[in-house]
Amino acid sequence: MEEAAGWLAALDAGSAAPEAFAQWRAGDPRRAVAFAQVVDALEQVERLRAVHEREPAPPPRVERRLLLRAAALAGGASVAGAFIAVQANARESASTITGERRTIILDDGTRVHLNTATGISWRIDGTSRSVWLDEGEIRLEVKPRPPGSGAGHPLRLIVAGANIRLDAGIFNVRRQPESVGLLVLSGRAALDGRRMVDAGSLAQVIGKSVSVRPAETIAIARAQSWRNGQLVFEGESLDFVVAEFNRYLDHKIVIADPSLSRIRLGGRFTTTDPADLLTALQASFGIRSVRGDTGAITLTTA
């Protein structure tokens, strides 16, 4: 900009050769842009001529105070029909369909959030409390047992043959075809009565093998977000992002062009509705989404 202004002033004073200027400008379109912007500034100044003689009386100050309306937070997750389970000796069960979330409060006060396509069952009696995760993902907010009712009994969680004991605390558990992931957000868990998992740790159970390591920030953010209907990504491949979205969708998204799978993206989607994602993909990458006869959404370039 400084360079362009120098040329303009020199041309204006007649001290620059037009040919030299033309050569400079032709060297880079950005120079032409800067020069045009400087000329524009000059022309706008010229408009002040109209008000130059007498400085305009300051216009009556009618300062409109814009009252920014406090942005109403989109209400929390709409929980479809939380209900109080009645005590019974038989196992009780609850489930969600694809795209649904619900919260169950067990008889001991433990709160269970069910994510999409999830099934649990449980049994609570005077001496023990057990929860089975049959499929999907849950968040368990385990209450301590009230004093005098068999204190010290942890909650027993059974997932795909793994036996997990949960003290009071908050746990995110996800069952996948090949593995089980247990993230301890607070409190403590014991795997098969031996392996301790502390708050902030993630345990992966694959068959008989167990690995415990500190949870990544993104894993914790993801566990905290789904019950608010949010999906969080931090540089994952489009493959992964689409797979996560598909858990919530009846009509799945399909990546038709394998070259797209490598795209990495991040962000927080405020809804499990894929419309935002599809719009963002279109806006940022020019990726088209086509809905087929069956309802499936296909992603293609161009």
Partner: protein
């Protein structure tokens, strides 16, 4: 100004008035730190347009360039964050011509322009005023201020560079009277 090509005139008259729209759009397309660069790159493409007089809607033309540049950048980027795309209502590349108000609002508000002038260092301000407002020739300004012509030239360049920079960044008020309308009003009165 003989040193302006037709494409420069077109750029100043048809493209620059929409600079606010471009900046807003850029802020939605790329990360905040990259927005200004995206605008400038799109400008550079636009000013190289070979058939600029055939472009029906220069605003939509530049918006489309910006979008395509953003695609290219995103495809090259290692990770693309979507936070800034949450509000995507701006993706209507708006093929319709902007209304008169939108054109007016592309001009700097008069009050803001006076402020910008007042913020210039004293000598560049004096030179800019004498040259462009009072219409004095550089050699006459040099005599009046007791400076050499080349020093006058430097002050003019400095003042214009500062103004041009500030204008790319100056917020344009959504309401209020645009400068061109004020200018027209004054001109009508003085005629």
């Amino acid at each position: 100004m003989t040193w302006l090509r037709d494409v420069d005139r077109w750029f100043i008259d048809e493209v620059l008035p929409h600079r606010q729209t471009f900046r807003r759009q850029a802020a939605r397309l790329v990360a905040p730190g990259d927005a200004e660069d995206l605008v400038q790159e799109a400008y550079a493409r636009a000013i190289n347009a070979s058939h600029h007089r055939d472009i029906d809607n220069p605003r939509a033309f530049v918006l489309t360039i910006m979008r395509n540049l953003a695609f290219e950048r995103h495809r090259r980027a290692s990770v693309v964050r979507f936070e800034h795309l949450a509000d995507l209502d701006a993706m209507d590349i708006a093929d319709s011509a902007p209304d008169q108000f939108a054109i007016l609002s592309g001009h700097l508000e008069l009050k803001r322009l006076i402020e910008l002038m007042d913020q210039l260092p004293p000598q560049p301000r004096a030179v800019v005023k004498m040259r462009r407002i009072e219409g004095m020739l550089p050699k006459d300004i040099a005599v009046r201020l007791g400076l050499s012509v080349s020093t006058v030239e430097k002050h003019l360049a400095k003042g214009l560079a500062i103004l041009a920079h500030a204008m790319q960044e100056a917020p344009v008020k959504a309401d209020g009277v645009g400068i061109s309308r004020l200018w027209q009003r004054h001109r009508q009165r003085s005629n």
